[in-house]
Amino acid sequence: MSVPSHLNFYIDASRCIGCQACVQACTECDTHKGHSMIHLETVDRAHSTQTIPVICMHCDSPTCAEVCPADAIKRSEDGVVQSARKPRCIACNNCVLACPFGVPKMQVEFELMMKCDMCYDRSSVGLKPMCASVCPSQALFFGTREEIEALRPQAAPIDRFQFGNQTITTKVKMMGPKNVAGQRPKHIDVTAAMDEHAPPRSVSLGVLNGAR
């Protein structure tokens, strides 16, 4: 069994409404029953409602697998980076610290790393992963390229990410604008804004202070 090549995962964090449906649904998956592999992060709770659901991006050259001293993480031929193999994982935490997207979860109690495997029991037979099946805003979308292009005419899927000097390409794609200054964006630069300290920003909450 393998994930059909015409189906893919598209993530659009900007559409996330933080409803937690994906977090709950994730626990229903048979390959990691009872354990949610999604990180639903609130970016800056004090100032914003912005949230991001983080799933495994399934890198073409997975850093997590490369740094694993026990050779426990395997990428299957369909490009899905599987959860750590139970007989091999020695719970060293290398993958957790090395993943550029911050995806793997260390289950300290089990001495085992677990991660999003795109609900392999479902996706390998052409079904949507649990999170994508319940996401009401389609921040998490699993389907064909034609479907996503029809749904988001202004957006284009991007599968290249820049972390410092390192470029990482992934199976899962993130939706970005089709056009930036007349050009199609080639990658998402994740670390670009880390060059300078973000200036403290005073947000004047008009609703509370009385509208100007």
Partner: protein, 382 residues
């Protein structure tokens, strides 16, 4: 012809050395093959091949950059002067908990633990009996003055003796029977899970997951058939069964270096990791360059940077946060996740021709309120 690289040559040499060592131990332990059972020569050669294969793979594995580093670090941490006593004190508890009891598997699932524990102890018991017998390291002799007794010779040296018909004698002679009971029970539990669990069904592979169980079952059941044949059936089909059993055992031995069984030799690394973590917890912590919170041991982060460089990754962030030697490894996993949202937001800001801000998700509510005053302005115009 492809040229051999240094790693392969080293692993091959270590494999040959280990094989020669075991061969020498067989010659010495069996007193120049005096106690060597020629009928078991097939087992011996299969074992020697397994020794070569296991050593070769282990050596190749140890030469991978992450494994090489943590192998070295594990020993350094264990024997470091300020940690040696604590390490020695913690060692027996960890060996018993992890290897004898398999406590971490118990916490994962009771049935998985039962399956693993039964198979593990069954195999250990069987190996402890089979290998010394095959190598001629143990043999039994009847003392000249008492034909009702057997004396056990280890490496040719006499040790204890027991009465042939005693309970102890029965336990010793049927050691492999007891081992096969443990293995078969464990294999049944494991096989049931593999046939009913939909999660396991999605990711399991025949060679990796079923074949080891089938081999263990085949070895155990054919071994039991031998006992049944000579105990209750006057040796019916004994020769045939002996060949089938030998074939199963030899195939299992040959398979040891390749498939799932190799985890038996990799797994002890878990102990080294535990000591490495101990040292990390008590040492200096790495602080995230983005949120200024400690998130891992500094030793671990710095080791990981070395490993990533050795693997050809380049997560350096030149000029990052005023630190010329910035490295993405110094960003905590949570900040990495948040950065994805911010990076996507910035790209959309740029795509919409807006000013690109550091925190695109933060909406200036006051700015949004501006259009609210628009009707008033419109009225004025009217």
């Amino acid at each position: 012809m492809p040229s051999l690289n240094r790693e392969t040559v080293r692993a091959g040499a270590q494999g040959v050395a280990a094989t020669l060592l075991v061969a020498a131990l067989i010659a010495i332990g069996s007193r120049n093959l005096a106690h060597f059972d020629a009928a078991l020569v097939g087992y011996t050669f299969a074992t020697l091949f397994a020794v070569f294969g296991i050593t070769y793979r282990y050596s190749m594995w140890l030469q991978r950059p992450p494994t090489a580093l943590y192998w070295r670090r594990g020993w350094q941490v264990f024997f470091s002067r300020d940690r040696l006593l604590a390490s020695l004190a913690a060692w027996p508890k960890r060996v018993v908990g992890v290897f004898a009891i398999n406590n971490f598997i118990f916490r994962r699932s009771r049935t998985r633990w039962a399956a693993h524990w039964l198979i593990m102890w069954g195999c250990l018991l069987a190996a402890a009996i089979t290998f010394p017998l095959v190598f001629g390291w143990i043999h039994f002799q009847t003392p000249a003055d008492d034909f009702e007794r057997y004396r056990v010779y280890v490496f040719g040296f006499p040790t204890f003796s027991f009465r042939i018909g005693s309970v102890l004698g029965g336990l010793i002679f049927h050691g492999l029977v007891w081992a096969s009971f443990l293995v078969i029970a464990g294999v049944m539990i494991a096989m049931r899970r593999r046939m009913r669990d939909r999660g396991a069904e999605a990711v399991q592979q025949f060679g990796e997951d079923f074949l080891p169980l089938i081999l263990l079952f085949a070895v155990s059941i054919t071994g039991l058939m031998l006992t049944a044949s000579y105990t209750w059936m006057r040796g019916y089909a004994y020769d045939f069964l002996a060949i089938v059993h030998a074939a199963c055992v030899i195939f299992t031995l040959l398979w040891l270096p390749f498939g799932k069984f190799f985890h038996i030799f990799q797994r002890p690394a878990q102990l080294g990791v535990a000591f490495y973590k101990d040292a990390g917890r008590s040492g200096e912590q790495a602080v995230c360059r983005n949120c200024s919170q400690p998130f891992a041991s500094k030793m671990h982060v710095e080791d990981l940077i070395l490993v990533e460089r050795a693997l050809g990754y380049s997560y350096e962030m030149p000029g990052g946060r005023g630190d010329p030697a910035g490295h993405y490894q110094y960003i905590c996993p949570r900040c990495r996740r948040l950065s994805m949202a911010l990076a996507q937001g910035r790209l959309w800001q740029a795509g919409r021709g807006r000013e690109v801000t550091d925190r695109p998700g933060i909406v200036d509510v006051a700015e949004m309120m501006e259009p609210a005053s628009a009707p008033a302005a419109a009225n004025e115009r009217a």
